[in-house]
């Protein structure tokens, strides 16, 4: 399955992917309206270091411990893609306890959110499309 991969040598730490993620998942057409004056809560997150930076988002694990730990069945795996049914999520944080990469976090509305590779946004991953340095790519490996 195609996944998002990061090359930490090339990541500038510019946070554009975070903005593109927040915009793509906002459901709002106008980027300015979607983001202006808001604290964004993106599903992709940059870790910044002294000399390197890199973007982290759900690894769509082959053996997804979040799915196996979820107390409600909100998380599931279909054809390799790990998705969340927010209407089932009760916000218990068991998946936050379990995810080895810190890739699942609460949404503003309460239920958890995670990267679903923009499958619910009708496009290819917006973070990748907007990356100015090709530090993140969407490909089969």
């Amino acid at each position: 399955m195609k996944k998002v991969w990061v090359n930490e040598e090339w990541c500038l730490g510019c946070h554009l992917c975070e903005y593109n993620c927040a915009y793509a998942n906002s459901g709002i057409d106008d980027m300015v309206k979607a983001l202006k004056g808001k604290t964004i809560n993106p599903r992709i997150r940059i870790e910044e270091g002294d000399s390197i930076n890199f973007a982290v988002q759900c690894r769509h694990c082959d053996d997804p411990i979040c799915v196996k730990s979820c107390i409600s069945g909100a998380l599931s795996k279909t054809d390799g893609l790990i998705t969340i049914d927010q209407s089932k999520c009760v916000g218990c944080y068991t998946c936050v306890m379990a995810c080895p990469y810190g890739c699942i976090m609460p949404s503003e509305e309460g239920p958890m959110q995670k990267c679903e590779l923009c499958t619910k946004n009708g496009c290819e991953p917006a973070c990748v499309k907007g990356c100015p340095n090709n530090a993140i790519v969407y490909e089969e490996r």
């Binding site: 991969w5 990061v6 090359n7 930490e8 040598e9 870790e47 270091g49 390197i52 890199f54 982290v56 690894r59 411990i65 196996k68 730990s69 107390i71 409600s72 069945g73 209407s87 089932k88 009760v90 916000g91 218990c92 944080y93 068991t94 998946c95 936050v96 306890m97 379990a98 995810c99 080895p100 990469y101 810190g102 699942i104 976090m105 993140i136 790519v137 490996r141």
Partner: protein
Amino acid sequence: MNYVIIGNSTAAVGCIEGIRAVDTKGKIVVISDEPHHTYGRPLISYMLLGKTDEEHMKYRPDDFYEKNKVDTILNTKVVSIDKDKKSVKLDNGKSVKYDKLLVATGSRPFVPPMEGLDKVEKSFNFMTLNDAKALEKAIDSNSNVLVIGAGLIGLKCVEGIVDKVKSVQVVDLANRILPSILDEKGSALVQKYLEDKKNIQFTLNDSVAEFTENTATLKSGKKIDFDVLVVAVGVRPNTELVSEIGGEVRKGIVVNTKSETSIPDIYAAGDCTVSHNIATDEDQIIAILPNAYLQGEAAGMNMAGEEKVFDNSVPMNAIGFFDYHIITAGAYTGDKYVVENGQEYKCLFTKDGYLNGFIMIGNVSKAGIYTALVRNKTPLSEVDFDLIKDSPQLMAMAKSYRDEKLGGAL
């Protein structure tokens, strides 16, 4: 191949998914004495809280049994196993034959003998969907509720009902709340939060000497009046089906890392078993949902003939009250690294070069990065501990680990 599963909860679902990952053809029969479609047991408190409902509590979609070609026999209890004839006997007199059997019977509430308990008309346990529905019917905005037990189940029940009733009192024999997952500092913080935020009244170090219909007299002499009683003192694993036929039981059913019991072709998984806790190197019952799933899944794959071991069991809990969250894992022994900041608390325990356990309260973001260090027994020599002790982050992991997991240059 005929697979039979006793129980219809997390371990059973893990087993079904494990079997079907290997064998798409064999016949699977699930037998449970509960009448419902599989549901997330921990959700019963969230149902009372209004965060979910019976429809959304379904642990798997409506077509789960059909899609996985599972026949269900619900509302029916297994009364015995005949290991020689390889069949199970039901309470309706019928028998079901198996080639491979999973015992996923979970646990039942433990109600210690308490003088006068039979005089209390409105007394409830808090384990099943039916318990929660019965409790919901019994309470209203005028109810004064007494909960016996300040552990995980008792306090989740409290969270579920406190906004629907007039008052909630909690009594526990232990000297602090949530002793199984918190240290003293953590217990005190969470207790204070519950007292301040929801006016929950705790009476610790005490227990009930005698009940009358609406009053509990405690050993200390204190009297508590109540309308509704919830008993959540503890649970006992349902092991009898296996012990009666000579299977090894030590508190829980004894299984190996392939979820096999000591009896051929009989497997067990979930809250009815003892697990090997890799953080303490001791056997104990680890009654949490992820453990039940992983053990059930391993059982299913092995039953279907593919070798699968589950060998990194550790206690790990996420529990929250309203918007105050707690995540813990592992064992609390070794050197301590502590950060305290008002309502926030973090304690990391390192031992023999590993992260052996942790407690996070208030800020729990990315806790899973710590959990993975505990579960995988990652040597801390491979990790930048000075960085990771401040906050869970992949930056502190070896570059080779990041390259493998996140990408790296091709």
